[in-house]
Assembly symmetry: C2
Homo-oligomer: 245 residues x 2
DNA sequence: GAGTGGTCTAGACCACCAA
DNA sequence: TGGTGGTCTAGACCACTCA
């Protein structure tokens, strides 16, 4: 790490290189979700840089919610299996802001093959094996979201309805616990649509009722897409919250 | 600044105190939108702290898009009047991702009074004077958004249709240029609704067409709400993009 | 070349937590 | 009490921009 490679065409700051090394250890499973990583001083010794440089690398990863700092305790690998962080990606809240019980009702879990569109989104070959999950999410006993989830079959071997129910429908938690795959980022695209047959029936709505359509692609380390999801949400007393900076 | 007030109940890091001082200078107008602020070294001398501490304060403000760093040039006060940053809060993009010409068509600009709901949102007294703007936004010649904008009349004295058109409909730019008020943050709440009379007509739609409703409250320094806005968007070939971390 | 932000270091000390 | 992250400093040097 003494070679700073200044003036080289592909110059990267040291802390950026350290960040890559840390990420590789995360991908490689050296530190698993929920575990504590070595202290800043230990890492500094390991990589032969100053504590401040390690610090900056960790700061960056903490800013991306990949690591979590806890003063006095240590730095931990973030996980979706933690109370309070479990629903990090769920932006739908009640209009009056009250907390509510969330329940899953599995509709189906089957195998399909990727058409061109999904293959492109998930970076697979057309025809690749997929797992297709449909479910209903109920808020305080009322069904509000019709969820359609698709993941590649290869990395999620053995995923079936039993396993989903064992994990209480927490998909992200299951991906981590059962397959060691952690989602670190997601992109959502929202539009308004009219409720059609199957969905209207499941949500107990009139045909044509406006629904919020949330299409989400989730990424794991290295910006690799690992899940496609389409949620159709009834928004008569809930809304999707977003903060702009 | 020598008093570090350690162990005091309301202990705040030095860089946080510097951040407050910088923010006060921004509010007070010492450095106006688009201008360069003093160099880190100068600020360090001014506040009697090290460059690193000033740096951390600036880093924080840059992270909130309040300041913009430019290596080799200096640090500048962010502005909505800059090409490329102009539409920072607009998340609606074409499905195929192509760039498009955006145009404003002013429908009305009138005075009203705050009802209880708006008074609460904008932190005013019920009955306070408001300015009410309606307009149509067209993308590549096609009307896609019916916008309803409400601001308190007091800080925006003299805002009328003429002035809006002089600023080409760029509301945030106008707030800065004409009134020295900069929006730094916004909260949005999205739901799906059905098009009703006036809006359906303006957007040339059938009654009941699903529209994306985007309610936005914008805040200036000190988390003071200064604008309420409701956009009704046709999303047949556009979508609202959002990134989750 | 002078000035700006960006990186990196080494060291001191503080705040928080657990045993 | 010892270990962890968090703050702060002083100083050296690099990368970028512009005159």
């Amino acid at each position: 790490m003494t070679d700073k490679t200044y003036n080289s065409p592909n110059y990267r700051p040291l802390y950026d290189q350290i960040k890559v090394l840390l990420t590789q250890s995360l991908i490689g499973g050296e530190w698993r979700p929920g575990e504590m990583i070595p202290s800043e001083i230990d890492l500094a010794a390991r990589y032969k840089v100053s504590q401040g440089t390690v610090r900056k690398a960790i700061d960056s990863l903490a800013g991306e919610n990949i690591l979590i700092r806890r003063q006095g305790k240590g730095t931990f690998v973030a996980t979706h299996n933690e109370e309070g962080i479990k629903l990090r990606f769920l932006r739908l809240t009640a209009v009056d802001g009250h907390k509510e019980a969330l329940q899953n009702e599995l509709i189906s879990c089957s195998k399909t093959k990727a058409d061109n569109r999904l293959a492109k989104i998930l970076e697979l070959k057309a025809g690749a094996a997929l797992i297709d999950v449909k479910r209903l999410l109920t808020f305080s006993g009322r069904p509000l979201i019709y969820d359609h989830i698709i993941v590649p079959a290869a990395p999620f071997k053995g995923l079936n309805s039993t396993r989903i129910e064992e994990n209480n429908g927490s998909m992200y938690g299951m991906y981590e616990t059962e397959y060691g795959i952690r989602m670190i980022r997601a992109e959502e695209r929202l539009i308004a649509v009219a409720a059609t047959g199957e969905v209207a029936k499941a949500l107990n709505l009139k045909l044509g009722t406006p629904l919020l359509s949330i299409e989400r692609v989730s990424y794991t380390y290295g910006d690799k897409p690992m899940e496609w999801r389409l949620g159709l949400c009834l928004t008569d007393d809930h809304h999707y919250m977003n903060e702009l900076e």
